[in-house]
Amino acid sequence: MAAAVQIAGIRKVFGKGERAVEVLKRIDIDVAPGEFLILVGPSGCGKSTLLNIIAGLEEPSEGDLRIAGRNVLGVAPAQRDIAMVFQSYALYPTMSVADNIGFALEMRKVPKPARAKRIAEVAAMLQIEHLLERRPAQLSGGQRQRVAMGRALARDPQLFLFDEPLSNLDAKLRVEMRAEIKRLHQLSGITSVYVTHDQIEAMTLGSRIAVMKDGVLQQIGTPDDIYSRPANTYVGGFIGSPTMNFIAGTPITTGAGGLFFFEGGQLALPCPAAARATLGLRPEHLQLQADAPWRGQVLLVEPTGADTFVVVQTTSGPVTVRVAPQTPVQVGELIGLAVSAAHANWFDTESGRRLA
């Protein structure tokens, strides 16, 4: 019973007159039934506000919102058949875990036996049966997170909303819970909208990702779209760690035999038709090559175990290159850089927008 969500022209303004702040500028998103949509962006980009609007906890200043085809503006959260998992879990402190999970069912006057059955089902799904009689204060962070999810699952709603649910967990737990959320989504197939500022979560969990900044949707697409064909320098720099390298310069000859001139060198690769352009290359699309014409000095060597990242200081700025872990590189060494032309991203230097 998954619903589609249509967000059309949503605007949200806080404050009045001179001190008005436009938190959401004009958001249009269509969420397909069963989809797992991620809203990702830095703090203050408006993603939580958008989530609250979908939930009905806030009303937009302008725009349309439909859930399962039904206009829900003005409809109370309880009537939207949604469930939400909060960053701080928001578990009812004076109730047992079982009562927490069953609370929404109780509000809908589901009879006790049916409720107990559902609670047991959900508890089994999340492996928290042994915690049913405890109070939230007696649980660990990870356990509380499971209970919060159980509370949302018990409802069997048409839409799931997640507000940075993993931010309060330590790194190891986060990885575990991420897999858990993905598994549950595959099991239940319920449409989900998930807010996070962590781009790794975004890439691993989402079927589609919506990148937001300053209340504007920067790009929406599959993880591959976002990663391989970012719509602007912001998205290119936000997704992927270490970030994409950007080199601004002048394309001299366009087309197949192109030359790209920039401070400190030139590269032979197909260029777009523009007076100035910024080349975006991910660390894994650069190589260290002893005899390449574009040269720089090794600044830092960062081994992470599976890869090693080398930061090379060039006249155009520092460039990060991913190399195999055993590569012999010394700090201070002078080295050349080669690029994989097939993976070049081109952006307009002024606006940051993608060119072709």
Binding site: F14, G56, E59, G74, V75, A76, Q79
Partner: protein, 292 residues
């Protein structure tokens, strides 16, 4: 449906706000109205007299006595409670044994009605059978303590009883303030070579300034309202030597049939309290930005 959700909270607080505002501000205005009428035994709204009641008020010896007493009493009561409370708090902060018991002992008077306090102290300060007789029996034959019945000293008896009642409260506030001070500041000062008295004077007391301020505020407003204590201890006597604005207002309004005059004195009391409290409230509320 959403509008119901936003409507219910407003409906629910409405009676509270309406009645509360009527009680506070409505009655204030009503009292003001009474103070510009010539009401005597009963309210008389037909007889508008402008500020005549106020000028009468300020011409009365008794009102001036009441004001003078208020000044003396407030100053000594607030100052005395503050100092005693601070002293006790500092001493208790020195990791003494039985701190809990002592705190309970210092604070229990606040649980009593001012009437009970007044009645007890009236007995203790009884000119012939109280403190004086005790001192005589203990060997101090020339001790004389008839303060309670002498016009110029009776007010100090009220001060003593008042301090007895409220010093514990000041102590509780200061102790909480002292406990909130980060230990490491004290340790740093000790390493820097400061002696304990120095530390208190130069470091701790300045940190406690806000607590001092709010304590003075509460004590001051308590002293302006002090009606119960005076009534029990001296009933404003001898004569009206220990009258305070609160007792003045009551006597004029309910015993002497001078409602207009009484209302005027109440307005004066209100003005005094407002002058102290309103700036404080304003600055406190200003500090927090308004939520949506």
């Amino acid at each position: 449906m959403k509008s119901l959700e936003t409507l219910i909270p407003k409906l629910v607080v409405a009676p509270g706000f309406v009645l509360g505002f009527a009680f506070i501000y409505g009655f204030m205005v009503w009292n003001g109205v009474l103070s510009v009428t010539g009401s005597r035994m009963l309210p008389n709204y037909d007889e508008f007299v402008g500020l005549e009641q106020y000028s009468r008020l300020w011409e009365m010896d008794r009102w001036w006595v009441a004001l003078k007493n208020l000044g003396i009493f407030s100053g000594l009561y607030v100052g005395g409670s503050l100092l005693l409370g601070l002293l006790l708090a500092i001493v208790l902060d020195q990791k003494v044994r039985a701190e809990g018991v002592l705190r309970t002992i210092y604070l229990y008077p606040m649980a009593l009605s001012f009437i009970v306090t007044g009645t007890a102290w009236k007995w203790i300060l009884n000119p012939s059978l109280g403190l004086e007789k005790l001192m005589h029996d203990l060997g101090w034959a020339s001790f004389k303590f008839d303060w309670l019945v002498q016009s110029d000293t009776a007010i100090y008896c009220i001060v003593i009883a008042g301090i007895w009642q409220s010093a514990g409260f000041a102590m509780a506030l200061f102790l909480a303030g002292l406990r909130g001070i980060d230990d490491s500041i004290i340790k740093a000062a000790q390493i820097d070579g400061a002696s304990l008295p120095r530390i208190y004077w130069r470091i701790i007391l300045p940190i406690l300034r806000p607590v001092v301020f709010s304590t003075i505020l509460v004590l001051a407003h308590l002293s302006i309202k002090s009606f119960d204590l005076v009534m029990a201890l001296t009933a404003g006597g001898p004569g009206f030597a220990t009258d305070v604005p609160a007792t003045f207002m009551f006597v004029m309004s309910f015993n002497r049939g001078q409602i207009g005059l009484g209302a005027a004195s109440a307005t004066m009391m209100l003005a005094t309290v407002a002058a102290i409290v309103v700036p404080y409230l304003y600055s406190e509320l200003r500090a927090k930005p308004h939520d949506r």
